[in-house]
């Protein structure tokens, strides 16, 4: 019962970020916008992902869910 989440972050996609989120698909949209997409099983996993993003000090500009 997973939901697809798209999370937009306000930086370019570097190799480091790609490997930090190796479980997600990462696409660079512009020099200061990257989209991370993944199938998230439940809220707990989503919160964990958001915490990982926070740990890296990255700002989130948008989150979208597509069940």
């Amino acid at each position: 019962m997973s939901t697809r989440y798209e999370i937009r972050i306000n930086c370019a996609l570097s190799e480091t970020i790609r490997s930090a989120f190796s479980d997600l698909r990462a696409v660079e949209l512009s020099p200061d916008s990257t989209l991370l997409t993944g199938d998230i099983r439940d809220q707990s996993e989503l919160h964990g992902l958001l915490a990982r993003i926070a740990d890296l000090g990255i700002a989130i500009t948008e989150i979208r869910a597509q069940p």
């Binding site: 930086c11 370019a12 996609l13 190799e15 480091t16 970020i17 790609r18 930090a20 740990d55 000090g57």
Partner: protein
């Protein structure tokens, strides 16, 4: 009392003021509130310099001779000490002389000023802790200053806005402005020209972590006044960019060191040496600490080194990218270290974080059962899910998958599947695993197979060394050894998990005995095991055995003993944070339900909401459904939107009643009564049918609701005597409160029909039963009908007088303010109910009479009766009152 695993303070609970790292500059712009009555709050995201600011304040206060206590909350789930315990410890550590009063008292009446700093409060989850903290802020001595800090204010502290003034600093406030940034670089012997300073401030946004990295880079850069190449051009996340620049500058040995050690969150020197195989680990760590901002070090206790969290995240990603093989090797080495040092939980967490399934499988095999018995089911479940996704199944993973849902087995098909899969490869498994499997098989098995399964269990037990000590006294002797604190388990069984598995297998023997109707024997077996598990260090196991004892006792109708076990469970099932395993959840619910029945809790709704919120329905229907039902009952009693509530309860029972007969049982009386009050007879009949269908026609609950339904009909006399008969010689009783409701109903009817003496003796009967378990709730249900029966009788109830008074007191305190109680006989006859429904419409009496096909005088008589029952004197008031009571 079983010891829960000792929570080592180095596991990130900080109870002392952290040392100030070198080169930290003071920030006079950001000052602590001048008056200690004003709370200072700092809420800023990671890397903003929050903790540094707090320790600056702390050190300044200490330099002025003031006492400072510091509590930094850890992030883990699972049991940890309560906030008040942590504060106790922190305050004690901050004082030179030992306190002679308890800390709580000292904070309320302080002799000298002191400051309490709370860091990482975003980890605050437990309601009990939040309430405690708010209480402390309200009641502390004015000279005690409080500082609250974290990444974000936890929602449970939302009420703090009701508290006295506070000063709040947020990320923007903590960001370094231009002047502060200049000083920052100057302190690191770096001067930038204006253009470079501008670029630095703009690109980093004044974010402390990034500035630190930038300065670190400049320290090592060939021409220190130049900014890193592409600094203004590159749009990678700033910390990401800077970390790679800094790493470029390090010598290969140091880079290698960082690579290997960044896999873990915190290292001690011995661990670092083990992990890297380098004797000079200490030197490298010190170098890194002084030359980069990547390492810091807490000199208390064991000298733990940590990496800055933001940088750590980037480090890990960066290093993983650079050298995957080396990274994997370090993880394995770290896992080995953890396992050798009996920290299987840290090993599992690390494997899960790094996705190392091979190491994960080995750790689960070795320590999974032990972790489950300890109560860390949540962690094991995550590990099992990861292994499942990787296709790594083994006998152990199957057995553990079944074990974590014991003893309630909410998903029966899945449990059976795991047991069957494990059965195929059992031969090679360890004795403890086979023992657990055999136990689960008995618990899940159908009646017909039980004796075969039991024989299998006995056969496995025979393989346990010192098998003769498995019986009664033997277990107690072993327990005595354990209480001596000797290397206890090995004295008897040589294997701690084996001992726990043996205790666990008692459940199977008890279940088999009960199924055979040897109920006394079943109770003995399980009580025996409970006594022994008191000494085991594994709280989950003890809880599960207590729960079984309670259930067996209840099934035998031994309510007081069952209640006593609940008491013990209540003291054990910690109230901190969400439950981490099913048993804890069930126990918390049982405790809450007991408090509901005894009317002893002030914050019942909060407790129930917590439980319901903490567990998804699929995972724990056995807790969520009854908890929701209880929540509705509590709302009914408190008169909160009675109409909506009864409809919600109706839907819940119709949807889930079949799978949860116990819930139907404890709701049965109020469900039918409320349906009768607020809906029509047809719907009430449906409710009665639901109860009889799920609980059986001959159950006391069914007899009771049938009686209720037939009040003031031609069948009343018949059902009345049927009920009395059933109360005296019950066939089946599903719930211990039902007899109390039964006697109260009979007493009420006796009272209504003027048979006051009979009512007296019936009331006493109700009290007798209720007193055994201090059950007050049935007297308060239903407009406090029962309590009203008690009031005129106080003083004439002999030994039950005290209890009766406590009931009346509890009833009075629960009454919503301004809510007049309905008059004595609040039961409306069916005809009265129909007429009541007509009242809001603007029809004259003759119109109603025509509709009802009765004479206007009859209608008026009914209306008078309705007014009297509602305690009003006019039609408009009647409508108002009826609406307030949910009748319309």
């Amino acid at each position: 009392m079983p010891k829960t695993r000792p929570y080592r303070v180095n596991d990130a609970i900080v109870l002392a003021v952290p040392p100030i790292a070198p080169l930290v500059q003071s920030r006079p712009r950001l000052a602590l509130s001048a008056h200690s009555t004003v709370v200072t709050e700092v809420w800023a995201s990671a890397g903003a310099g929050k903790t540094t600011l707090l320790s600056l304040w702390a050190h300044a206060l200490q330099a002025d001779g003031e006492k400072v206590a510091w509590v930094g909350l850890p992030s883990g789930v699972g049991s940890r000490p309560s906030l008040s315990t942590l504060v106790d410890e922190a305050v004690r550590r901050s004082l030179p002389n030992p306190l002679d009063t308890p800390v709580a008292a000292a904070l309320r009446h302080a002799d000298e000023p002191m400051t309490l700093i709370f860091d990482d409060l975003h980890h605050l989850r437990s309601r009990a802790d939040s309430e405690w903290l708010l209480g402390l802020i309200r009641e502390k001595d004015p000279s005690v200053r409080i500082v609250l800090a974290g990444r974000f204010p936890p929602s449970s502290l939302a009420k703090r806005s009701l508290l006295p003034d506070s000063v709040e600093y947020r990320s923007e406030d903590l960001a370094f402005n231009r002047e502060e940034a200049r000083q920052f670089f100057a302190a690191r012997s770096t001067t930038l020209d204006e253009g470079e300073l501008d670029a630095a401030c703009e690109r980093t946004g004044g974010w402390a972590a990034a500035l630190a990295l930038l300065a670190g880079w400049m320290r090592g850069a060939p021409r220190p006044q130049r900014l890193p190449r592409n600094f203004s051009g590159d749009h990678r996340a700033i910390a990401d960019y800077l970390v790679s620049e800094v790493l470029e500058q390090l010598a290969p040995a140091q880079r290698e060191f960082l690579l290997t050690t960044s896999v873990v969150d915190a290292i001690t020197l011995p661990f670092a040496v083990f992990l890297t195989g380098r004797d000079d680990a200490g030197d490298i760590l010190d170098y890194l600490e002084s030359h980069t901002s990547l390492v810091s070090h807490r000199p208390d206790d064991e000298g733990v080194y940590t990496y800055h969290p933001i940088l750590l995240s980037y480090l890990r990603a960066e290093l993983r990218r650079r050298d995957f093989g080396g990274f994997a090797q370090s993880v394995s080495t770290a896992v080995t270290w953890y396992r050798r040092n009996t920290r299987a939980d840290l090993a599992l967490e690390l494997c899960l974080r790094c996705g190392h399934t091979a190491d994960l499988a080995a750790s689960v095999d070795e320590a999974g059962a032990s972790l489950v018995f300890e109560g860390q089911a949540e962690l094991v479940v995550r590990a099992l899910a990861a292994l499942e996704r990787a296709g790594l199944r083994s006998t152990t993973t199957h057995v553990l998958s079944a074990l974590v849902s014991a003893p309630y087995f909410p998903d029966e098909l899945r449990v059976d599947h795991h047991l069957a899969a494990a059965a195929q490869t059992l031969g090679d498994a360890a004795v403890s695993i086979r023992l657990i499997h055999a136990t689960l098989a008995v618990l899940r098995g159908a009646d017909a197979e039980r004796s075969t399964l039991l024989n299998t269990l006995v056969a496995v037990e025979a393989e346990v060394p010192n098998a003769e000590t498995l019986q009664g006294e033997g277990l107690a002797i072993a327990a005595g050894d354990i209480a001596q604190n000797a290397e206890p388990h090995s004295a008897v069984f040589g294997d701690a998990v084996l001992y726990d598995a043996v205790l666990f297998s008692r459940l199977a023997h008890a279940a088999a005995a009960e199924a055979d109707d040897r109920v006394d024997e079943a109770l003995d077996i399980v009580l025996d095991a409970v006594r022994s598990s008191r000494f085991s260090s594994h709280a989950w196991l003890h809880l599960i055995l207590l729960d079984a004892s309670s259930t067996v006792a209840a099934r035998q109708g031994r309510w007081p003993e069952s209640a006593a076990f609940h008491e013990e469970m209540a003291t054990l099932a910690g109230a901190d944070g969400p439950p981490t395993n099913l048993v804890e959840a069930h126990v918390r619910f049982a405790v809450t339900q007991a408090e509901f029945e005894r009317v002893t809790s002030d914050h019942l709704e909060a407790q129930l909401d917590d439980l319901i919120a903490a567990l998804p329905l699929e995972l724990a229907p056995g807790v969520v459904i009854p908890a929701r039902a209880l929540r509705y009952l509590q709302r009914l009693d408190a008169h909160v939107q009675p109409r909506t509530t009864i409809d919600d309860l109706d839907r819940l029972l119709k949807a889930h009643g079949h799978a949860h007969p116990g819930t139907v049982a404890f709701c049965s009386f109020r469900y039918v009564a409320a349906m009768l009050h607020m809906h029509d007879r047809h719907q009430a009949k449906q409710a009665v049918d639901l109860v009889t269908a799920e609980l059986g026609e001959s159950s006391l609950e069914s007899v009771l609701v049938v009686a209720l339904y037939n009040f003031s009909t031609g069948r009343q006399a018949m059902v009345e005597s049927a009920l009395e008969e059933a109360l005296l010689n019950p066939h089946t009783i599903w719930n211990g409160t039902t007899p109390v409701f039964g006697w109260l109903l009979l007493a009420d009817w006796a009272e209504i029909s003027g048979r006051s003496t009979r009512a007296d003796s019936l009331v006493v009967k109700a009290l007798e039963i209720a007193d055994l378990t201090q059950t007050r709730r049935p007297f308060i249900a239903e407009e406090q009908r029962g309590a009203r029966l008690l009031e005129p009788r106080i003083g004439r109830l002999g030994s039950h007088d005290v209890f009766a008074r406590s009931i009346v007191g509890a009833a009075a305190s629960l009454l919503p303010p301004g809510q007049p109680r309905m008059k004595d006989t609040a039961y409306f006859t069916p005809k009265e109910r129909e007429i009541l429904r007509e009242l809001p419409r603007h029809q004259s009496v003759s119109e109603i009479a025509a509709k009802q096909q009765l004479s206007p005088n009859t209608i008026k008589t009914h209306m008078r009766s309705i007014y009297q029952k509602l305690g009003v004197s006019g039609r408009a008031d009647a409508v108002e009152q009826a609406e307030a009571n949910g009748l319309l």
